[in-house]
Symmetry: C2
Subunit: 222 residues, 2 copies
């Protein structure tokens, strides 16, 4: 698969089949992940694959509770506004994300594979998320969908790390929990605010110098 | 370019030529970046391209000072150990990174383009670094090298944000400063600790279930 197709079409796939991910596919996903950069190439990362139903059964309730907390905190106002004006495009988009994220939580135990990422000595996240995103892009090339989530670590990191046996006092932080599975939906280019609305040149607020009305991939040809 | 080639060979390219990056290449890099996921698809990001010599002249001294602070803090002990035992493989690797990072700092003003990433409402970095890494992978496909750095924001974020005109009190955080340029060196698969040494299955410390002696790309054939 072309790198640009992967970059454009690896949208969050939260509705997946329970079919397992073959071991050789998992190996290619992880081997791609560890090629990513990290500060000083220190590779202060660990990748914990979870596919044991007994472990998923312990994490699932925590995950659902964490998502529930997100809905009543950071997302409470946006959801209320969206429900008050459900006909706007932004409202519809937000409510679709909420519904899809809730679906993932409700079916946590049926997701065939999770990749839980840990890092240490990484105050910005810049030494773990390139590797995580590489794993998701490598999965895309294998036809495996994924969704990057952070709520488990944010709201129930300590409990989840105890369940998973993460040693205490060593500086490990749960960066994310990524779901993997063969998607039930279709790959596609997700809606985004265009680059020239979120990019500047040399000074905050100055035009970046180009406008991109339509995604530059796929090229439609002259 | 195949996605796996991009994932395996986008190593940090800190030695670059001063030739400018054409505008259409910059547009493709940014358009790929904004396709990345962010929490709830909120896209709480801004991408500031810097190519004005006057702005680089203001940031360069801050960048060099920030790197100097890194060497005498988090990297002081590792560098001392490496210099005491320069013949070990790990020492040589670390000293190469240090030398290469210092080269980038010393030639900051000659780097043709920087992408400074900002995010807000993103406690883990998981809503900005996938986009940043996508930009670097898209650049790789164009033959443009890059290096992801975080020292400017960590040590001199406030001053740099003032120079760049970032509004205060809006929650924006400088996540990273990525250099871009046509590399003087060669692309290649960087050395990494193999996946099975940094990955577990279902419980911290449990074998992941496979061993990967050599990078799985390029495939050497049967």
């Amino acid at each position: 698969m072309d790198v640009r197709e992967a970059l454009y079409t690896t949208r969050a796939m939260r509705r997946v089949r329970s079919d397992p991910i073959p071991a050789d596919v998992q190996a290619r996903i992880l081997d791609a992940a560890i090629r990513a950069p990290s500060g000083g190439n220190t590779q202060g990362w660990r990748f914990l694959l979870v596919d044991d139903p007994a472990v998923k059964a312990q994490l699932g309730p925590l995950y659902r509770d964490a998502l529930g907390r997100l809905w009543v905190t950071a997302y409470a106002d946006p959801i209320e506004r969206a429900r008050a004006a459900p006909d706007s495009q932004d409202s519809a988009a937000l409510l679709r994300v909420v519904s899809s994220a809730q679906h993932l939580a409700d079916h946590f135990e049926q997701v065939p594979l999770f990749l839980i990422g840990f890092s240490r000595g990484d105050p910005t996240g810049g030494s773990i998320f390139p590797a995580i995103w590489s794993a998701q892009l490598a999965a895309r090339a294998e036809g495996v969908g994924s969704a990057l989530t952070s709520v488990l670590g944010i709201f129930h990191g300590a409990e989840a790390m105890q369940i998973l046996g993460v040693p205490e006092g060593k500086g490990w932080v749960m960066a994310c929990c990524v779901s993997f599975g063969y998607p039930t939906g279709r790959w596609g280019v997700a809606a985004r605010r265009p680059a020239h609305e979120v990019a500047y040149r040399n000074h905050w607020g100055s035009p970046v110098g180009f406008e991109i009305a339509e995604p530059l991939w796929p090229e439609t040809g002259a």
